[in-house]
């Protein structure tokens, strides 16, 4: 049974106060329309310690846990689905450095990221490869370190990035096949080409790009984590990432539900508030039930992570459940708004697009079902 502590409730309150002061709906709409990252809002969030809230204080993190990060994500994304996500996503990747990095790497790279001075972009995914598969990109070792070659896709924050995190195939040791390693790459290194992938359905504030590495020089200090352990690190990254994304999805679901309720309480047709119709009540009921179930699943997953007891299955279920709830809630919110739900001005269509985009990130539903199914069924002989 999860009871939020006073400190956790304070995180929610701090997030609410921040969003109420900083999130302006019209600004959010305009920024989303043109795909402009909300730099000022993000800087203020960083100044409040919201970036890397679950990462160690020694490196400018918040020193709290994943549950606090989830509460923060949920609160911000409920108040604005696009701005909330952008603030949460902007520091994404820092957790890899915190979890896998050497002391030196953590001291060097984390404070600038968590203080909002350097942006990080995670370049793991390749089109044509499954999201947990060995990469086609290669890092060939030489006497100066490695030479990195390959192309990554769907990289958010790429245009703003000061550093990229990437995953490349490295020669296997005698006991490993398909070995890969993670690397930290300076965005201004020679041989990097960033190509905008264009307008997206959702996630336009952080955008997406194709990033090509062409004979990019990596010095030995740029190996992140253990050589050849990239895929195992990737799975650890996904575990944390999926729970965080589930927290964002929970916020989208809650925000959509709240907007739907507010609208049906005030819209009059056929001489009464449309909230009075039986079908409206049932629709809202279904959403509320889904959001409640998703919330418990996500909070449980985050708490398990903080207790060192989370696994890939828990994280995948949390994301699957929360993303579905977000899509359902935003979809119904549009419907309940009638024609107004289709207008940008009413924001609910934006929540729907953000929910859809989130559901395709770090594990589309099919990928997540593979993870959960394989885990539950177990290894077959």
């Amino acid at each position: 049974m999860i009871q939020l502590t006073r400190a956790q409730k304070q995180v929610q309150k701090a997030a609410r106060d921040f969003a109420k002061g900083e999130f302006d709906r019209e600004t959010a709409r305009e920024a989303e329309k043109i795909g402009q990252f909300p730099e000022e809002v993000f800087q203020r969030a960083a100044a409040l310690g919201f970036v890397g809230i679950q990462l160690p204080e020694a490196y400018s993190g918040g020193g709290m846990g994943l549950l606090e990060a989830v509460l923060l994500a949920e609160t911000l994304c409920a108040l604005d689905g696009s701005l909330g996500q952008a603030v949460c996503e902007a520091g994404h990747g820092a957790e890899c450095i915190a979890r896998f990095g050497s002391q030196d790497q953590k001291e060097r790279f984390l404070p600038p990221i968590l203080e909002g001075r350097t942006a990080v972009a995670v370049a793991f995914v390749e089109a044509g490869r499954g999201i947990s598969s060995a990469p086609a990109a290669t890092a060939a070792p030489d006497d100066k370190g490695w030479l990195l070659n390959g192309t990554k896709h769907f990289v958010s924050n790429a245009e703003r990035a000061g550093i990229f995190l990437t995953l490349a195939a490295t020669p296997a040791g005698a006991d490993e096949t398909g070995a890969a390693s993670m690397f930290i790459v300076d965005a201004d290194a020679a041989g990097i080409r960033v190509t905008d992938e264009g307008r997206r359905l959702g996630g336009n504030l952080t955008g997406g790009a194709e990033v090509t590495f062409d004979e990019v020089r990596l010095t030995p200090d740029r190996l992140l984590g253990k050589p050849g352990r990239g895929l195992a690190q990737l799975e650890a990254y996904y575990m944390e990432r999926r729970i965080l994304l589930a927290g964002q999805a929970l916020g989208l679901a809650q925000g959509a539900l709240e907007r739907a309720v507010a609208y049906v309480r005030q819209r009059v047709q056929f001489s009464r508030k449309i909230g009075a119709f039986a079908v409206t009540r049932h629709k809202i009921a279904d959403l509320a039930a889904r959001v409640e179930a998703a919330r418990l699943t996500v909070y449980q997953a985050a708490a398990a992570f903080d207790a060192g007891q989370a696994d890939a299955r828990t994280a995948a279920i949390a994301k699957l459940t929360a993303a579905e709830a977000a899509i359902a809630a935003a979809d119904e919110a549009i419907q309940l708004h009638g024609g107004y739900g289709y207008m940008r001005e009413y924001d609910v269509e934006r929540y729907y697009r953000e929910a859809k985009a989130l559901s395709l990130t770090a594990g589309a539903p099919g990928d997540l079902r593979d993870v959960v199914g394989a885990s539950v069924i177990g290894k077959l002989k």
């Binding site: 995914v125 089109a127 044509g128 490869r129 499954g130 999201i131 598969s133 896709h153 769907f154 992938e197 264009g198 307008r199 997206r200 359905l201 959702g202 996630g203 997406g208 009059v268 047709q269 056929f270 001489s271 079908v279 899509i327 979809d331 549009i334 419907q335 009638g338 024609g339 739900g341 289709y342 207008m343 940008r344 001005e345 269509e349 729907y352 697009r353 859809k356 985009a357 559901s359 395709l360 990130t361 589309a364 539903p365 099919g366 990928d367 079902r369």
Partner: protein, 380 residues
């Protein structure tokens, strides 16, 4: 045995329209979407080529064709990747009001232009406080001698900016009965007192100019009233069967097109050395969607056949409208899932398809209203 059979004339019409769309519409779809507008000239070209209002009597320049032509146009236009040139709205929803209820003089005056693309039409019923509850409209039409004075505002009007002629629903403020108060009027763009608002910014249908229309002491001749005074609501109800059927066709072809594109995508996209389509879960998803799409097509074609025979299919068209538009949305959502992160990029046509499908469950009467109507006519 096919539910619908097409004659050689139908097939020839389809072939020529297919070529027309490939040359005159599809290549411009992306630009029209980016511009949020369709050039007026595109409508004129389509009219001159004989693809607008195929149902209109040859006496006014039309083909005198049956609703199978409407189905053909809807199917071919669905392939163009744009929604701004809403030929079906003009030909199958608005112009039929003039065909059915217009006086000879009105028909002679307006129908030829509707056919040849000189006159683009819109229908204006919805208001900010009269959406599902249409009878709650407050736009007034006061008949005064041989003029009518109109005051009020309409919203969410498709073709709002491009239209030359509007079929407007307005109420007589002196009549208490909400339903008997409504009459229909033909209002020409440019009439003093009739102003078009800004283009409304929407989730999808970007090339379609949806707008507000404002009437401030707008005077039109009494000769522009369409049909009998006070018969507006009855006329709207009479025409809504075809409007709903048109929307049901639209939902069905949207679902078909999205599924077809996604199936091709899954065939050609290789992940970890294997085409997506070889994944059992992907196969089952495509089969399940194909099954529902086939069921939808069968239902809609049956209703088209019934409609051509003059059947009263209010319940069935309401069912079809809500079911196929819900299907289009379900298919769009599930297909995007199959694409993974690539499904978040606008350069994939089905992303636009998802955004465009969403409104179908709302316009022409929300799907909730469709169920309400079906309930009423089922005697529930």
């Amino acid at each position: 045995m096919n539910i619908l059979t097409y004659t050689a004339e139908h097939e020839d019409f389809r072939r020529r329209l297919h070529e027309f769309c490939a040359a005159e519409i599809t290549p411009f779809a992306d630009r029209w979407e980016a511009d949020h507008a369709v050039p007026r000239e595109a409508w004129r070209r389509m009219g001159r080529a004989g693809f607008l209002c195929p149902g209109v009597d040859p006496a006014y320049g039309g083909l005198g064709g049956d609703f199978r032509y409407a189905l053909i146009v809807n199917e071919e236009m669905a392939r163009t990747g744009q929604t701004g040139l809403t030929a079906s709205l003009h030909s199958d929803v608005v112009v039929p009001y003039i065909e059915s209820f217009g006086s000879k003089a009105q028909k002679r005056k307006y129908l030829p232009g509707c056919v040849n693309g000189d006159i683009v039409t819109a229908v204006a019923m919805t208001e900010p406080d009269a959406g599902s509850d249409l009878a709650a409209m407050t736009t007034t039409a006061v008949e005064d001698g041989d003029t009518v004075v109109i005051n009020g505002a309409k919203t969410f009007i498709s073709n709002g900016l491009v239209c030359d002629l509007v079929v407007l629903a307005a109420r007589d403020p002196a009549v208490e009965d909400r339903y008997r108060a409504i009459s229909l009027y033909l209002v020409e763009a440019g009439t003093p007192g009739f102003n078009k608002g800004q283009r409304l910014d929407k989730m999808g249908w970007h090339s379609q100019d949806t707008a507000e229309l404002f009437f401030t002491d707008c005077r039109i001749p009494l000769a522009n009233r369409l049909g009998e005074r006070g018969a507006g609501f009855l006329m709207l109800m009479a025409k809504l069967q075809q409007e709903r059927l048109t929307c049901a066709v639209g939902g069905m072809v949207a679902a078909e097109r999205i599924l077809q594109w996604t199936t091709e995508y899954c065939r050609r996209t290789v992940v970890d050395g294997r085409p997506l389509v070889k994944n059992q879960a992907v196969q089952f998803a495509l089969v399940e969607m194909a099954t529902e799409v086939k069921i939808g097509r069968t239902f809609v074609e049956k209703l088209v056949a019934d409609h051509i025979e003059g059947g009263q299919i209010v319940v069935e068209t309401s069912m079809a409208k809500y079911w196929t538009t819900d299907l289009a949305n379900r298919v769009a959502n599930r297909c995007l899932e199959l694409m993974g992160p690539a499904g978040n990029l606008e350069r994939a046509p089905i992303v636009r398809g998802l955004r465009d499908a969403r409104i179908m469950a709302i316009f022409a009467g929300t799907n909730e209203i469709m169920k309400q109507i079906a309930a009423k006519f089922m005697g529930l």
